[in-house]
Each structure stands twice: as structure tokens, then as C-alpha cells.
Symmetry: C2
Subunit: 515 residues, 2 copies
């Protein structure tokens, strides 16, 4: 990829040399330099807030979990059966202790990233039950396939995380799978990673493995992983998610509080009302994180789609998804908490133009919306049913391009560049000018996976479309992969832990999918 930390020393020759070497250095976490797209005025933000608080106070939220119900009673909420009615003052008091931003720690401290405010990261997709592999064949994934995606995540500069189960490894028993997934994330990349929340017990295992990797006390004071907890819209949180949430929050690790929105099916047929319901759902979970542990980091989340009237299937890249992203960003900032969105979603079955339109539209929306934790940033296709290797590397390059855009224009050499206009003059050309030679590559991003050759050259080279180019790129990357060395003692301890837990946990062979 041709994005890198700009050199400020060494002159033209050094810069040229650097350009020719492949660069797999992670870009620092994005600090945005362009304004936010805010489609609501202050009164409209307050109208959403008021509607959400009305819902929390009068409609209630179902917590299908006895411990959560006890917890809510303990802090004075009205509980009727499984329904919890949350007073707006209680909600505001609780969420007030969520940190506005935090540093998310990686195995390599140089790859720590900040989250919240102007600070954003790109995280690859997770949860695909199928992959389209290095030959573009759609099939069930294995642990080796998962390792491949963790390696690619490690190498793509704009990805800030190796996430967790990018694809579901079907060749390992489901009940033990979370151990191998977590180990694969930790071993194949030294970037940040995510932790499995497929059950409370699994989440505890992830916490224990993080304690081995980072140290128990370090874990207590530093976010080192994130766990996703999906809500069941409308207005339901279940025992699995709440149990996993407790496992993470108790150890001070951030969860994404993510209502799962299929707009029009499990929300009203209205963009602002969908946002109000989603907001109520997210607030109820964010508030609960602070019941579990006051001051624990937490992230305002969501999975967001609108559904097809024809098939009921989730759609991607629609205008309402963009608008809702803009609005949700405003709500998260209103409550001063970091927020998560979903990037590059698509419903296409192959990596065709539909996939390109859907993904780029969503990427642009989430950048303008100012999302902090930009999840599902690479590979997602077929409504999340498969992760495509080809799309993975193209999406990751698109993230690098969006990163460049979100930084905003660079003014450092403006006066020299204007002097070049005088040098070149009317009718001249710039390619030979020293300012151009020194600055071209840092001034203009050149996508490696886009072909801009003439049709004649493209034909001569075999009429290669983007899928084939991207798969070829992925193979080259994997050939150049170098594993970031994991401390031997920690590696042994992790393997011992996994061996012990696999003896303790009975193997089961059914599938377990989570998103």
C-alpha cells in the first residue's frame, strides 16, 4: 500500500527509496481533520433524546436475564417481570461515568490506538460462516483460513485490528472454538483484537487469555480488547449477551452496546423514529455497563440495515443507512461516548459492481458521520454470509483512501507549490518540476488495486478485472508475511491455558454463528 508515515528527514533520495519498498506499517489511529456531517439541529437532537427517554420510561426494555434484573432493582429501577423501566435521570447519571475516549492497547505498544472524539480506527469484518477464498471459491472456513485473514489484517496499513472470528473456523468444535480464535488473533498480529462474546463462559476465557498476554494488573487498568453485545431489537437484551457484557465490564474491558436494527422490520418505518428506538436500546445497555462497573469504558454501538420489502433481507448502501449513521453519530456525541458503526456492508453475492457501490457508499457515510470504531471494514459481502479475500484487500485499501480524505488537505508545502505555478506558467507541465518529484506520491493517493491503464494495455495484459487482481495481491501479501514474534513464555502459557480448557469443555459439533 502506498500510504505511510511521511518522512520529514533524509531528502528526496531517501523518500524515493522508501517508496519503492513494500510498506506494511500500520497507519496511526485516524485523527480526523474534516468536519462532521450533522443532519439534525440541536432541537432535533433533543427531540430524539426525549423520545428515547419516553420509550425507556414508559415502554421499557426487556432484560431476559435474572442477574441483570436483580442489578436493576438494586440501583432503583422499576422492574416488572422481565421489563425494566428506566427513569431518564437514572440513565443520565449512569452513562455520565463512561469515558469520552480511551486508549485501546495492542500487543505492540506502537500500535495502540485512541478511540473517541476525533479518533477512529478501522476493524475488519467478523462472523462470516462462509468465505470466498484465494480462488474465489465459496466454502466453509477453517482455522487456517482464519489465520490467513489475521495475517492480512496484520499487513494492511489502514486496518487497526485483527478482530476475532473474521470467518467461523468449522474444523474445530464449536464449544472450544473461541480459544483457538482468540489465540489466532493474538499470534498472527500484534495489532489490537476483539474478544468473543458467544457465551459468558467464553468471554471469561477471553479475559483470562488477555490476562496472560498483557498481565492481570495491566488488564485491570487498560482496555486491551473489545466485546460486541448485540441487542434484539425492539428493546430486548438476552442472557448470553448480558452475561458476556458482565465478564468484560468487570475486568474493565469495553463492550460495544449494539442494537441489531433491520429498519422497518424491527423498528418503525421512519428514519428519525428508528434512531430514537435504537438510541433507547443503546442507552439501556450503556447504562447497564455502569451498573456492572462504574467508570468502565463502553461504546455506543449498532448494526444497521434497512430491509427489502421483497425478501425481508437486509439491504446495504441505502440513503437511510447513511442518514441514520449521521444521526447516531450526533446522539453518541450528545452523550459524549465513543461510537461504533458498520462499514463496507454489501448484499451482493459476488464481488461485482453492486458490492463496490454498496461498500463505498457506506464507507463514505461512516467517515462523514465521524464513527470511532469502524467495524466490518474489510471483506463483508452477501449480507455478512461470506468474507471475500478479494474484497478484503480492496476494502482495506479503500479504508486507507478514506483515511487520507478524513485527514483533510495538507497545506505544509502550499507556498512552494504556488511558486511552481509561476515556474511552469501557462501551457507548461509539472511532471518534471522538482516540487512535483518531491511531493507527488504524498500529495496524491494511487490505488494499487484500481486499474487505470488504457483499454489496449489492459487487453494486452489479459483483461484482468478487480477480483483477480485483488486475489493476486492477497497471495503476494501472504508470501511476504512475517509473524510478529510472541514472547515465548506467554505463548507457552496461552497454549497451556487452551489445552486445559479444551480438556474441561466438552466438544460439541453444532454450528454457532454470531455477528
Amino acid at each position: 500500500m502506498n500510504i505511510r508515515t511521511p518522512s520529514r528527514a533524509g531528502g528526496r533520495a531517501a523518500r524515493r527509496a522508501m517508496r519503492t519498498a513494500p510498506n506494511f506499517n500500520m497507519l496511526p489511529g485516524l485523527t480526523r481533520g474534516i468536519p462532521l456531517c450533522e443532519v439534525m439541529d440541536g432541537a432535533q437532537v433533543e427531540r430524539i433524546d426525549a423520545a428515547s427517554m419516553y420509550i425507556l420510561e414508559n415502554v421499557g426494555v426487556q432484560f431476559r436475564d435474572p442477574i441483570a434484573l436483580q442489578d436493576w432493582k438494586r440501583v432503583g429501577a422499576k422492574v416488572v417481570g422481565e421489563l425494566v423501566y428506566l427513569d431518564r435521570d437514572l440513565v443520565r447519571d449512569l452513562i455520565a461515568t463512561i469515558p469520552s475516549d480511551f486508549t485501546y492497547h495492542a500487543r505492540d505498544p506502537n500500535k495502540n490506538v485512541r478511540l473517541g472524539g476525533k479518533h477512529s480506527i478501522f476493524v475488519p469484518m467478523t462472523g462470516a460462516p462462509f468465505l470466498r477464498d484465494l480462488d474465489d471459491v465459496r466454502r466453509n472456513p477453517t482455522l487456517d483460513d482464519l489465520a490467513m485473514f489475521h495475517k492480512l489484517s496484520h499487513m494492511m496499513p489502514a486496518l487497526h485490528s485483527s478482530a476475532h472470528h473474521i470467518v467461523e473456523p468449522y474444523d474445530h468444535p464449536i464449544s472450544q472454538r473461541h480459544l483457538r480464535i482468540t489465540y489466532s488473533s493474538m499470534k498472527h498480529s500484534d495489532k489490537t483484537f476483539m474478544g468473543m462474546t458467544t457465551s459468558p463462559k467464553n468471554a471469561e476465557d477471553v479475559m483470562d487469555m488477555c490476562a496472560i498476554l498483557f498481565g492481570e494488573q495491566f488488564l485491570e487498568d487498560h482496555p486491551v480488547t473489545t466485546g460486541n453485545c448485540n441487542g434484539n431489537s425492539p428493546l430486548v437484551w438476552d442472557e448470553t449477551m448480558l452475561g458476556a457484557m458482565r465478564a468484560f465490564c468487570r475486568r474493565n474491558q469495553p463492550v460495544l452496546c449494539s442494537p441489531f436494527v433491520l429498519g422497518g422490520a424491527n423498528t418503525p418505518a421512519s428514519v428519525p423514529a428508528t434512531v430514537a428506538q435504537l438510541n433507547a436500546e443503546a442507552l439501556s445497555a450503556l447504562a447497564y455497563t455502569q451498573v456492572i462497573r462504574k467508570g468502565a469504558p463502553a461504546i455506543y454501538g449498532h448494526y444497521l440495515s434497512t430491509v427489502s420489502m421483497k425478501s425481508g433481507a437486509p439491504m446495504a448502501g441505502t440513503p437511510e443507512i447513511s442518514l441514520m449513521n449521521f444521526m447516531i453519530g450526533q446522539m453518541a456525541r450528545y452523550y459524549d461516548v465513543p461510537w461504533r458503526t458498520s462499514n463496507t456492508l454489501g448484499g451482493a453475492k459476488t464481488f461485482d459492481a453492486q458490492a463496490g457501490y454498496e461498500s463505498a457508499t457506506t464507507l463514505q457515510a461512516v467517515i462523514h458521520a465521524g464513527a470511532n470504531y469502524i467495524w466490518h471494514s474489510a471483506g463483508w459481502n452477501e449480507a455478512g454470509m461470506h468474507c471475500s479475500v478479494a474484497k478484503f484487500v480492496v476494502d482495506a485499501e479503500q479504508c486507507a483512501m478514506a483515511y487520507r480524505m478524513a485527514e483533510g488537505p495538507k497545506w505544509h508545502d502550499f507556498d512552494q507549490a504556488i511558486a511552481a505555478v509561476s515556474d511552469v506558467g501557462p501551457g507548461g507541465h509539472y511532471l518534471g518540476h522538482p516540487h512535483t518529484q518531491d511531493n507527488f506520491q504524498e500529495a496524491f493517493f494511487m490505488p494499487e488495486l484500481f486499474d487505470n491503464n488504457s483499454i489496449e494495455q489492459w487487453t494486452a495484459e489479459g483483461e484482468v478485472e478487480i477480483t483477480e487482481r485483488a486475489l493476486s495481491r492477497a497471495k503476494t501479501l501472504l508470501a511476504e508475511y512475517e509473524e510478529p514474534r510472541l514472547d515465548e513464555a506467554k505463548n507457552e502459557a496461552l497454549l497451556d491455558y487452551i489445552a486445559r480448557r479444551e480438556r474441561e469443555i466438552p466438544a460439541a459439533d453444532e454450528l454457532n454463528q454470531s455477528y
Copy 2:
């Protein structure tokens, strides 16, 4: 397409009936309801302005045209050979008389559109020397192919214009082609259209034909067509473009003053400095329109790409193109003139995922940038070398989606939708709720050309990718096309004019391409 003018009467049954009928009604000109992406603060805008004025005063602009040089001398500019040095006060005085916005008149007055400020229109691509046809075969176009694109432009709701030579009709002599192109635009659609500027004489013919269609006096008082005048960056305007500009401005018809930017090749390797040079170029032409005719409408234009270091070819969908669009929009608004941009550009050779990413990225950028005259909004691929029928209909649907986004969220039924949350309650579903049934389709856009079915259904239906779906859609549209009746006397007069001019103009057989 499933965008329509919302019904406010007739109840649920009437709305349902309307939904099932195909709707080819043009969407009104877009009035944006979301904020602008402005990446410069006031001081940075003034820094661009100052650099541009420095260039105009000290580097000068070459006007390769004796009449223009005389005109500039007449208004007191310093002229040295073909170089014109424009004092900033003169420039500001001249551009002050350009209207901030104007109504662009169509043959059907219901299809008049407003341009400037919050008012924007989508115009299809023009100038392609090849097409990918209804069978996705790449070949030279004919007048029949051009008519096909004019028909599709007429039918796609989000396109506000039939433009002019969407493709170059190779089956008609080049010297007479502008007559047939203009007639095709006028006859096959009653939306706004563009006028050829391939020579001053051709531009005069277009003006005469507009006078026949709209009446001489109407033309004098109302913009009914637009002409594009490309600059040769850096800082050159040629005789062809300036002569065509005079033909349009004298008849009070707006021109697009469009520097042709290949970022890094004919501009400095700097985003802000490229914008400063482009701005100087645009200002010099905008100022000249007012030398020709004070108060004539004119549009701040540009064609914008960055070039590949590998091949020198123009690239599309890059982050710098987005940033420059944001900045150019700010400059146009600083001078209070309407502005034109280029939409959905792409360098892909086929309608693959690259084309989708490039087009969607650019579409999102120009919407956030607030462009008024959004040209090249449908069909562009292969760096403009071909217009793709498949991409044309998909792009046009994408414009309808972007239109919906740019309108912003709709709050009219917010209270009823929140009441539905109370009705449905935790764990319920909305599809059967009356509010959903009444509002679903107006709340959520459903793209017709995206497939969101399951893989099983998609496979059962023959694994049809977007190109094939789009071509099938185009064939259906063309089968349903109804020609908007042209007044018989006007039609006769136009045909007489063409016959006379074709007797007067010697036929030539070389190619003539313009963008």
C-alpha cells in the same frame, strides 16, 4: 424506480396502487437539506483566493484568441502577446454580475430546474467515443445509440437533463453532427439539455435551434441550455472554446467554465495549490463571460482527476478528488456563483467492482461538496472512453438514492412512528403495524438494481450479476418508452433548419471528440 412525488391524498389503497405502476416522473430539482462538507476555514478560503489572484496578476492567463485579447484590452486588462494579466479588482468587479442562481428551462415547463445555492441537478455523462451496448459489447456508437441514451435519460427520475452527445454518433459526418445531436436531445426528451460547443459556428447553430424550440425572445430572457468550455490547464483558454463561449453568452445562455485538471500533471503536486490554480483558471473565464455580456448566467466548472504515476492516466475515486471537490465548492460559494462538478467517474474497463467503488465514492463526495450542476452522473467508465448502458441505469438509480440522502431525514410522521414503538413493544415486530404499511416505501429506499436475495434464491435464478440485471432493466425501460410529443410546427422548423445547414456545411469524415 421507486422514488416518486409523495402522495398526500387518497389513502393507503391509492398509495399502494401508485407504487405498483412504473413511475418515470422526473424528481424535482434537488433542494438539499443536509449540511455541506467544508474542509477549509475562512482564512484558508482567503488563502486560496489570494494565491489565485496572485497567479492572475503575476503569472497571467493565456487567451489564444484575438477577439478575447481585444476584449480584455477594451476593459483595461494588461495584455502582453497572448498573456492576459488580470487585476484582482477587475476580476471581482466582473464576476459580481454573475447571477447566484437561475432557473434552467426545459421544453416541459414542469421540468424546469433551479441551479445555484441549495439547488442541484443530475446530468448524464457526455462525450464517449465508445459505448458498451445492450449486450455489453464495446463498439463505436451511432445516432440510434445516442437516441437510446436520450430516451433512458428521459425516463430515469433522478436525471434532470438529456445532455447532448452522451456518445459520439460515428455514423454521421462530424461537421454536421452537432445538428443531429441537438435535435436528438430536443426530440427524445422534454427535460433540459446541453448545447454543443465543438466550434463557435456549431454553438451558433445550437443557439438558432434553441430559438426555434423556445422562441427568440424567450431565449434572450431564459437559460434553456448550457455549454461546456474546457480550459487547457495550466492557465490557457483556446479559440474554439472562447468562440463558443461568446456564442452562448451573447444569447444569454450559461456556460460551464471548466479547467481540465489532471492533478500532478498539469497542476502542482499539492491539493490546495491545485485548487488555487484551478480557481484562477475558472475565475479568468467567469470574468470573461461578463466581458462578453454583463449579467449573463455562468457556472464555475472543472473536470477533475489525479493522474497515475505509473501510466499518466487519469484516476477516479481518489481521496484528493473528494477533498478538491469540497474545497472548490467552498470557493464557488465564496464568489457566490453556481458550480459544476463531475460525478461517477471511473477508470475501470468493465462494470466491475472497481467501477462501483469509484463511482459511489465520487457521488458521495459531490453530494457532500454541494455541487449544483452534477454532470457525468450516469454511464461514465474507462476514463470517459465509453458510456456503459448497464452503468447508466445503475448510476441513475444511485443518483436517486443520493437525492434521497441529500434531502435529509423526514420528520413529518415522527410522533406516529414513536407511538408505533409503544404499540409493538419489546420483542415485537413492525411489518404488520398500520404505520409501517402506510410509510414503509416512503421511509426506506429500495434499490431495484441491487440484489438482496439469499444465495439459494440467487442461484436458483441463474446467478445474475448486476451488469446483466441492469441491461435487462434498460431493455424493459426502452420497451416502455413514450416519446414526449414535440409541437409539429417546431419539429418541422427544426428539421428545415438542419436540412439547410447540412447543405451549407461540407461533410467531413474525421473524428471530433470533446469532453
